[in-house]
Assembly symmetry: C2
Homo-oligomer: 158 residues x 2
């Protein structure tokens, strides 16, 4: 139950494709494989780079299209764009287990596991909303950027 493997997910995806009368193409196979190789969030650019290392050439349009199908199949999740306007993707099985702390300065994403205390309260917040899928994002300034800014402020005082 920990982590579904690449092969497990291909089986799930295959079943979905068959059910919907969609085709099991080589491209879809390879894309899922590379998606699974990420440990966490990834952007379209990161995926494109990784695809370049395989012997399969896959066009941009196909990448976008396939990720969309993976989302419909409930295998992937799409995070809202960051301030740089790029969308991040993540395996759904990972996404629901943590809160995202996103730095508005450097776009770094830190993940924090739900605290058991937080959970029940969120459940009440989410009544009549979502249920199918939701994730929590908290935007702010990470420790690193905060320190950097303080150092700069310090210098200016002198």
């Amino acid at each position: 139950m920990e982590h579904k493997t690449n092969e497990d997910l291909w089986e799930v995806f295959s079943a979905y494709l068959t059910e919907k009368n969609l085709r099991r193409t080589q491209e879809r196979r390879v894309i899922l494989q590379e998606v699974c190789a990420f440990d966490g969030h990834f952007s379209m650019d990161m995926l494109r780079l990784r695809m370049n290392d395989t012997r399969y050439h896959v066009s941009r349009a196909t990448l976008y299209n396939t990720l969309e199908v993976l989302i419909e199949a409930k295998i992937l999740v799409k995070h809202p764009p960051n301030f740089n306007r790029t969308v991040q993707y993540e395996l759904r099985s990972r996404a629901e287990t943590h809160i995202h702390l996103i730095c508005t300065r450097c776009d770094a994403i830190r993940e924090v596991r739900y605290s058991s205390l937080l959970m029940p309260n969120l459940r009440s917040v989410k009544s009549n909303f979502a249920a199918e899928y939701s994730t929590i994002y908290i935007y702010g300034i990470c420790g690193r950027c905060r320190n950097k800014e303080q150092r700069i402020a310090q210098k200016q005082k002198k």
Copy 2:
């Protein structure tokens, strides 16, 4: 303490501009006024429309520029882009009092006040992060879209 008025905020903004050796232009005055007239979130497009109703013509570039200055002055807050890639703005004084429930289907934003129970737990989550500013977003599917989808699914079964 409820809601700062337009005039209060112009005073704050003026002080900020003077401190930073920036200019108190007519455009900045009018933009702040129109920004204050929104009740909640607004997008650049909504602001552009509203500006059309005033007798001042203000260019796109100036709107973007001014909103950026208002953010630096800590009067405004910029929400991350939604799935349509448009950024939402909000008066900072409003933003920290609620959680945003954002529908990934229709982009509707529903606001929910922090529950007193949720707050202390969040404080611990946020340690070593932000503090200066943060807001909570929960993405999912709103009741309305959920119902619509269920109705469609129902029809297909028949």
